[in-house]
Symmetry: C2
Subunit: 339 residues, 2 copies
Amino acid sequence: MATRHGKYSFSFDRNIYIAGWGNVVGVKEQQGPLGSLFDSVEQDFYCGKKTLEQAEVHLQQTAMDHALRRAGCAKEDLGLVGAGDLLNQCISSAYSFRNTGLPYIGLYGACSTMALSTLINALAIESGLCNRGAAITSSHFGTAERQYRFPLEYGGQRPPSAQHTVTGAGAVILSDTPSPIRLAGGAFGSIVDWGITDSNNMGGAMAPAAMEVILHYLRETGTTPQDYDMILTGDLGLIGAEIVIDLARKEHGVELQNRYQDCGLLIYDRMAQDMHAGGSGCGCSAAVLTAYVLPKLQKGEWRNVLFLSTGALMSPLSVMQGESIPSIAHLLHLKGEHK
Amino acid sequence: MATRHGKYSFSFDRNIYIAGWGNVVGVKEQQGPLGSLFDSVEQDFYCGKKTLEQAEVHLQQTAMDHALRRAGCAKEDLGLVGAGDLLNQCISSAYSFRNTGLPYIGLYGACSTMALSTLINALAIESGLCNRGAAITSSHFGTAERQYRFPLEYGGQRPPSAQHTVTGAGAVILSDTPSPIRLAGGAFGSIVDWGITDSNNMGGAMAPAAMEVILHYLRETGTTPQDYDMILTGDLGLIGAEIVIDLARKEHGVELQNRYQDCGLLIYDRMAQDMHAGGSGCGCSAAVLTAYVLPKLQKGEWRNVLFLSTGALMSPLSVMQGESIPSIAHLLHLKGEHK
């Protein structure tokens, strides 16, 4: 039985481990500071497929293959898959897993999906439903831009607050068999909306949701940022990350500086690559988790990490209707189990 | 710890109960055979709101209010909400729960969402994460038609295989406190795609997914249709329901007749209301579950029921790209606990 620390935070009582992980990205991500860390890179924007949507399906399947290889198991060994993506009706995930015979939980958390799907798998293991499951998500610059903003051919200009959707996918295999990285606990966030209506400022919209979950977890577990090697958010980018640090310091007296990174700022060299406010998309936190965070935990460079994925839950329609942007964040507490 | 019967089926070991339920529908549903059973009816297609999307948010909030009232608890008593809907980026659910402070799991299972969200809540209770949670979903004829097919003003003609999206929402409160209806177990389905590309024949596309989960559950638990008072599917409609009965009989030697109903056929008088192949939409199985199935279990008219919600996971874009329709079904095993 999971131990509840408060309204949002919990620890798992069964030992739940990250048995494997995998990722794949596109050229822009390869050219970024983490470029050498990814499992594979697709040089072709279409991944050799006829449509960008099929390319995104290919990204998911590639990330899953890497994760299964690292976990040393086959797809058929999975008791459950939790997946989701940014596309309408989450078609990347649906087409990735059709006719696989795998019990499937479809999730929608926008860019919070990597942490969400990981927690859902952990719940399934904690409840005894299965011994092994997979969490996966993806995004693609071409599919996301067309759906949320403009087709790339339109050549739309992007304001400095805009983020660049990561082309990439990440997958994690969870298991109850001991391995060096343990998912110690987590938190499901609530939907926070501070009234931002500019869909080119998603980092700003998501920052309060991320900050709230970080503060909930710290308070409810009686810990401080200094207890962790690092606290990472998914894709707040330059503006969102600054808001989180600022709000935590000024409104709550919590100092995150030197303990805080954002995947959206890690994945690109913003200035050299002209990436405006940084990276975004489900694939952003998924790729950084699986290429940067988990390897550091495995090598023992980090031992205690809070990892959040952060999602902006608006639709293009709701934005056109003048609605503000509801956001959410979910948190994973990851521990390196080295001696 | 849940007991796994096979790859798909499981029983809960903690006793998990349906503590409350609620629903709301529109005028067409009120005029159908179940019309007198719904908690409330919205006479205005816009529910007094400025947009149809806001109307759908209102439906969710109304269904939730009914469910909380019946369960005798407040929103703040919920440890978790699992929600999803048909709209792009699941905005009905996101706007329904923003700034409520409730830990939130966003789901996407198309019309399978009612069973999916109920199972996710049950997993959370089974794993000790919370004692009480809510599952909710909705659909609206106007929002769904515009998004998936044509705006209603266009006056598009619908083929006989088309179904009518239910305007309505349903909510269920799950709890570990004993009450007359117990969620004994369930099954997460896998994504099945038999190659149907006609998005006006969703019942046909979803039928194999529904049939597979029914057969998995019967085989893995060693039961037959005669062990249940009723087996219900979510929204297969006339064509899909006939396919399920036919396939089960001819391919698998399982006779469902006299033990099988479909929510999409129950909710409208197809002929009198000119509803083509029947009802569909997340709200279809949600409204029928909460207005028809659960009350029968509570009154002791039924004691042992398999309830499935069924979802077609395509998007308008994937259909335009020539893709076939992947489908999924999730199953709830509900028991009346009367003496």
